[in-house]
Subunit: 385 residues, 2 copies
């Protein structure tokens, strides 16, 4: 096991009817700004539940934080925070609303000149406004971590930051409110969670049996529960298990002391940048291809994954790995994501451009640091045509 | 899945050489009281590492917190805290030192008349001194929770409290320092952890697949790594995995949303009270007997435990359960705990007295609330003679 440090102070409030707890979870005299995205919270009852819980409180609203939240949008919210002396942010929505709110929290207390430096120059976030969260979409795990990804329209940049200061104070996860999500978001959430876990688990072994089994436990749960949610969308326990899977999948717990990868995410982000493909769809396209390409480097963990998640064993380790990759692709299909380059417009020209991005940056990816732009091109060639 | 709320802000600093991090983890101007127990930290290098890390800092010492820490001892420490205006407590030792230090932290800021009320009357702990921890013994999980058990010599009471205020600010876990532990403490720690997990897992199912697999992951790890530590005591990774198992086993994570039991602990505490038997030994005695007695109530989870932890399956569910219980007893033996009533002086008279304690209190135990003093007597009769 590798040395590690872990601190995750988020108060998780999980279950039916828990949005009503907002009244006690937010300090009584707080000047609250509620942040939200599109119209979904106005159709699934969440907005009414929040308003009911916070009736009579000092509460303002900022709507319209978009998917892939934009710097320009958050800067508008920042003006409102400053003008109204807001001292508590309440994010109501999915991971994008929360990511935008995390950046807003950091920007509001930033001592430097330009908050963009938090993203562009890794400027230190010494303090931030406190954040509460009502999470409505199981996917990103943002409800229990300190990560945020923000895009800047004017420069076409998409950058991330992490800070201990922007972990939510609390996150309310009510599986009931996920019953009205469109299938596409449910599919994306399942695959996103699956790949989050794989990035922390399918690398090379450093003797971490507890963490490995926790990772396998989340993967097995996604494999079992994922298809059920489409067959039986009103099943509360299925919704609850998928929600908890998403949170556990990226709250840092599974990967402590382990070697991590994240190359699939890095390549996927560039596919989204060039083609606008949904994040989870890019992951479903890249992961199997990356595993084929890195089968020697990841051999021990891929064989363990094959055995423990898919019950595949055999003398021929390459055949075992191939069968496990095939099962993974079938699983993605079973939850509604049939990924191929053609479907997403990932032409050979796009593959070249993506490879060039990594070559130009001099980036090396993967847990062994052996994936340059050249290998990214090879990986994309191995993806389903 | 049941509704739940979870907040665990402890900063875990895990690995080799991490005691040196104390210098940065404790605020620079803190007036520190280091609490400790017996002489072990003076023989395993821990004391020197702490002193080296905190050289030149405002540091006082309070030694002599005993196993099953006593109220009377902590009251002596409280006088020192008050006289010296201590504002940071550093617990260096095992779970008993930390439990005593948690009570000290709460007592030092207690607004009521008698700090004993925290234990005896469940008086609210509104605030407490901050606690840092160097944990030297994998067993209790106290390093990542808000529980504390304290005994009062004058009244022969042993009481527990829980407070969000007494979670350590940080806990340093260096597996290296556990290499010199006596076998008896290592054995006890493994069985203690195993039973902590079972109390949260072997109950009745409420559709919690992630939590179940996390619990099974810790149990499987203990089964694999436990015997290794005696065969290869200098193996760092084995020590690291046992340490992490102990922390994960009782930091609350595994049991969120699940139905929990804790009857084995309640009965075990009374055996210790009457006979002085080590806590973990009492658990190894009671758990198999309780499972025999509650085989119908716990049937589904016992069959799942048999399959996933011991790879035992079959048509006859009673035979499967019996085989799993037998495997559990063999596992306890394999890590050095061969529990029997005779070995620990648990005579029929003692069994009667223990049953009477529960009858007199009117306590009902178990996840179904079906275990009174009468059933406790029956359970003890089913324990190995």
């Amino acid at each position: 096991m590798q040395n590690f440090e872990y601190c995750n102070p988020v108060r998780i409030v999980f279950g039916k009817g828990q949005i009503a707890r907002l009244a006690e979870l937010i300090p009584q005299n707080a000047k609250i700004l509620m942040t939200s995205g599109g119209s979904s919270i106005h159709h699934n009852g969440v907005y009414e539940q929040v308003m009911e819980a916070l009736r009579g409180r000092h509460l303002l609203e900022f709507r319209g934080i978009e998917p892939n939240p934009r710097y320009e949008t958050i800067m508008k919210a920042l003006k409102l925070v400053q003008a109204e002396k807001i001292d508590f942010l309440l994010s109501v929505g999915g991971g994008s609303v929360l990511d935008g709110t995390k950046f807003l929290a950091a920007a509001a207390r930033f001592e430097g000149e330009d908050p963009w430096d938090i993203l562009a120059k890794n400027a230190e976030v010494k303090t931030a406004l406190p954040i509460g969260c009502v999470m409505t979409l199981p996917a990103t795990g943002s409800e229990m971590n300190g990560f945020s990804v923000v895009s800047r329209e004017s420069t076409e940049e998409k950058l991330a930051f992490w800070s201990q200061q922007v972990f939510p104070v609390f996150s309310i996860l009510d599986p009931e409110v996920t019953k009205t999500l469109p299938n596409r978001q449910v599919s994306n959430g399942i695959v996103d969670t699956f790949v989050h876990v794989c990035e922390q688990y399918v690398t090379y072994p450093v003797d971490t049996p507890i963490q490995d089994r926790q990772a396998e436990g989340v993967l097995l749960t996604l494999v079992e529960e994922g298809p059920k949610v489409f067959a039986d969308p009103d099943n509360y326990d299925v919704r609850a298990n998928l929600f908890w899977a998403a949170t556990v999948g990226l709250n840092g717990w599974l990967g402590q002391g382990c070697v991590q990868d994240w190359a699939t995410h890095a390549i996927g982000h560039e596919i989204t940048a060039f083609t606008g493909t949904d994040h989870a769809q890019t992951l479903a396209l890249v992961l199997p291809a990356l595993w084929k390409h890195q089968r020697r480097e990841k051999e021990d963990k891929l064989v363990q994954y094959a055995k423990r998640v898919w019950n595949i064993e055999g003398e021929n380790r390459d055949a075992v790995i191939d069968a496990a990759i095939e099962k993974t692709v079938e699983f993605f299909k079973s939850v509604g994501i049939d990924a191929s380059r053609r479907a997403y417009g990932v032409t050979d020209e796009v593959c070249r451009k993506i490879a060039d991005v990594f070559l130009a940056r001099g980036t090396v990816l993967g847990e062994r640091g052996n994936i340059t732009g050249n290998e990214v091109y090879e990986i994309l060639q191995l993806a389903a045509a």
